[in-house]
Amino acid sequence: MRLDKRRLVFLLLFVFVVVSTLIIANRQEDTDQYVVKDFRVEDVPADDGSGLLLSWKPLERDKRIIEYRVYRGVSPDKLFFLDALPVNVKTGVAAERMFYYDNSGSEFIDIGSPRKLKKEKQQDDKSPLYRKMPRNIPILAEMAGKFSLLSMMDKARFYHTTKKITLDKPSTPGPDGKIPDEGDSYAGLADNKQTVICFLKPGEKYYYSVVAVNERNKFQKHAPITEGTPVPNPPDPAQALYSVMLEDSRTLQFEWDLPLYKDDLAQYRIHRVPSLPDTVWNLLRSNPAGLQSSTEVIAQGGIGYGQLKNYTTFTLPEAAPLAAFTEARYSLELIDADGMSSFSPLSTPKLKTTADLPPKAIFRTEDKPDDKGDRLTVVWDNPICFVVKTTALNPKSTKLRVNYQLNKTETQKVKNIYFEFFKMGETKSFAKLKEFYQDNSVILKVPTGYDYRKGFRVKITLEGTPKIPADYVIEQDLKYDPKMLAIMPAKALYRNGIDVSSISNVVYRKTLASPNLTLVKRNTSYDNNLDVSVSYSTMVQKPVLGFRFVKGDSLITILNGERSARKVKAGDVRTAVALMPADIDLVYDKKNETRIETSIFPEIGVKQAKAKVEELEKQLSELNAQKASLSDPAMLAGLEKNLDRIQKQLSAYRDNPDLKRINSISGRRSRMRQIAKLREDYSRYNSYQVVRTDGKGLFNEAELLKSGEEIDYLKPISNWFYKTKVITLIAMILFCLSVVILVGMARRGKDLYIRPIAGLSEIDNAVGRATEMGRPIMYMMGSAYLSDVATIASMGILGLVARKAAEYDTRLIVPIYNYITMPVVQEIVRESHYAVGRPDSFDKNSVFFLTDQQFAYVAGVNGIMIRERAATCFYLGTFAAEALLMTETGNAIGSVQIAGTDSSTQIPFFITTCDYTLIGEEFYAASAYLSRQPMQLGTLKAQDYFKLVIVVIVLIGSLLSSFQITTLNEILPLK
């Protein structure tokens, strides 16, 4: 097309219109910016003063907003990106207001943060908005005082990479009145080796803004900068307190539900309150300070931020009349870490006896088999089997599929499940089913004439190892559900005649070093075990106490909010570092019930141990001196307790062999290796407890597992072999043996017959045809990765095809789908050319990466196919939807096409459109078939024999299963 004057004018006019439209649209948009309205920053109620709640009115859907970006700063002139809230651009936000809670840790130092202070995108110089807080310690150190900081790092980083930062010798005396020889030492770590999380501090001021971003990535104007200050608040009262009086044992049992926010709850107290109307109590409890005198505290303990037990008991004093406690009412006071508290509504005790308690759980803890040593299993019951649903198999519902679920551990084997079905109200069963192969469903034939909507009762018994008691029976009622239009199990689950559906099995954990038990999980009665994760230590968390960095020729240290500076001296660490305590727990001294700590720096560790012993000895002698002057038995008892504790600590720090051994090692790396071994090992020992409860005060606590007086602690073991893969291993060994034998036979010259495979026999002809026609050959290897067996098998065939093509001097084009495969394929083709003495004919550009986008690859291949008029096309590898698109094109241009794949869904397409197709295993046999090497043929033959073995096993298995003998099925792995 010639560009004459008329066309040029038209083109310029067109460009002018387009450019003007874009400029006008852009300006229009600039004047029509959308600012988030009614932006508020408020304190989060009932928290510990570390949270602020941000809220705003979202923009309308037609503004096409894709996200709201939240910015925070400690001064109004610099707000850093905090978080983004994505919005569905099509639906917008349906709610009146959007909320964002800034009450959990946010990134302070992160590897993804910019190195320098960077303005947010599309912001002018006056804008206070910046990207994330920069990963730059001198800048961050100035803001650090406004946050509580926590560093998280890979354990190896803390053990080995941290630098020893020793402060200058102080000029003022310490608490003991002496000036120390040197300043305190800290562990210093550079910003690129850790992630530091920051939390808001109560009473500090923070500034926020929100920016809406539309789908064109256009940042709108920010909302007015609004300040907020988090303050600690009294906790919410407990959602409920349940009290039960066990009359026969004169024990009060209390159980409670904690409020939603429990992260700062430290303690509880149970108050006995005179019988009061709820209205009066509600008035009284709004003024907790005035309440203390009118109530009596009968129990108290720790809550551990919601992790400890949510129940307690109180045994009545012997002389106390029962009525004084049964007629009283009770309230739970929750006290947070700041000492603020709230009272629950009053609870009236229910009168029960110990016979009403759920039976105590008999449990055991076992190592989970076939794992890497990070899980234990707590088992508290026999295997549990129950019906989950039923499905009618015909319109008249005379035949039902009953789906069941079997919950058991890996070590529990269930051989048979027996289902007995009863008509409602009858005691004689109408169907007995033996489930010898557990596929989670049985077929039930409804008796003729019985209206299935009346429902059934099912009785389930089990047979297995470890031996399941014969009287262990599970029963369920199956009732017609009009909403589901099907027979469904009722809520009740009867275990030996008792409905256990409302009973929970709560698992608690006790670590070696802690006196408390912490909650692991509440389980229903449908579970009989719980897998508990006991992970390996990978990270270390430490509070960040300060920073040290060099600015100009000054060494600046900011520690606990105090700033000091001096000239840089030789030997100073010049890298900017965050400072954290260098202490680490070493081991738990079981004998002395003391957790021993040491420093990660050897010389400090030695000094610390020595100083600790001296300090404890001093404390001990002081207390012994006090003891002589005390006469009050209560105070004496308290002192004795204290003495015992200090004596134990002293013994631990003076005599513990591990500490002695560690402190005798002077090299940091080898010492830390030993420390890591000790601390990571002891921290993985746990003991468990199962508590059965109805959640409303009727609970029964099982004892911790003990050997004599000692609590049993268990550590998971890392297994070396998957026991479930024994058969797979045997099969692999047998297969290897058969390969070795048949390869040996082939080498000795035995003629191994291989059936002719047409597709492979035709490869020579196909290459020859391309040579005669003077057109190229195309070879497509599929879309799988290099690690895929099909790709490797395809490479084997490619080597042989490339050799033939090189011999006949025919061009071979190999468009590659996966770039990792490309260099390998190039090498194969190059080697093939060299092998036949034609290195000159190798063209590297004939083997090239095309694209890894499925349909773009098709477009590329089809284009090359048509342009080059390929005479022969090979499709050997793993293919998906692209297969047919390529082969049809090849067909249209009259290519000879040979395909081979392991993708069963593509085989039909290849068969219909290609001249020859290698189906499944034939594809893998191609390399052996073409090379005819004895080693390869031996493998192929072994493969055939092994297939015969599989067929025989399948037949035997089918036969045995028909006679309800499932041993073979059970020993063969499922996958």
Binding site: V213, N214, R216, N217, K372, Y536, S718, N719, Y722, K725, T728, M732, F735, C736, V739, V743, V789, A790, I792, G796, I797, G799, L800, R803, Y819, I820, M822, P823, E827, I828, V829, R830, S832, A835, K844, N845, F848, F849, L850, Q853, F855, A856, L884, L885, E888, D902, S904, F909, T912, T913, I919, G920, E921, Y924, S927, M935, T939, Q943, F946, K947
Partner: protein, 209 residues
């Protein structure tokens, strides 16, 4: 030497992966696989991608130089490559950026166009497959008609048990043959892996021996 060392690496890697498959131990599952192998895969990926991009550029460059048939299209490759790269590097790859715009408004429609062609190709392939020229092809045709009719309401109108027959065809003869192929593929895969592991299969090293 040129082949022995790669072969030794492959065999050693293969043995480690066999151990990985049979052992749940922390050393293999965590220390080897998660902490060593996976990071190396991620680290080597970009270099391989770079090789791929260089190869593609060289191929198109050669085409332009040689004035190969339809060489002009190679300029489109360079244009697309440069524009998309610049859009990504300058504007970022997040939603709302130019690169995502190109992806959503250029690549996606073109991919959808290619995919939609599949329907026509399928019809053409089906025509070839279902021509009742032999007993086998006739069986195939009948089975296909039954399965296809059972998928639409009209099939149930014609005969109420058609879905049951269709499901039987899919569950019994179809599944049996698929499983037969799957067993063959599985064994072939194991055999190929074993051949590589034992150093019998070396053609992937090039040259076929």
């Amino acid at each position: 030497m040129k082949k022995t060392i790669p072969l030794m690496i492959v065999i050693l890697g293969g043995i480690i992966f066999v151990m990985y498959a049979f052992s749940p131990h922390k050393i293999l599952q965590d220390d080897f696989y998660n902490k060593f192998y996976i990071p190396w895969v991620y680290a080597s990926g970009p270099f391989a991608a770079l090789l791929g991009v260089i190869s593609l550029c060289m191929m198109h460059n050669a085409k332009i130089k040689r004035r190969a048939p339809k060489w002009q299209y190679s300029y489109f490759f360079y244009a697309g490559f440069i524009i998309t790269s610049l859009a990504g590097f300058i504007g970022g790859s997040q939603k709302g950026g130019l690169m995502m715009w190109i992806f959503e408004n250029v690549q996606m429609p073109m991919s959808s166009t290619m995919f939609s062609l599949l329907a026509f190709y399928m019809a053409s392939a089906a025509y070839k497959a279902f021509r009742a020229r032999s007993v086998e092809a006739t069986v195939l045709l009948v089975a296909a008609i039954v399965v296809m009719l059972a998928q639409v309401p009209l099939g149930v109108k014609i005969y109420k048990n058609l879905p049951v027959i269709s499901q039987w065809i899919l569950d019994v003869p179809n599944l049996a043959s698929k499983r037969g192929i799957a067993i063959g593929v599985g064994l072939g895969g194991v055999a190929t892996s074993l051949k590589i592991l034992l150093g019998i299969e070396r053609s992937y090293l090039g040259g076929g021996d």
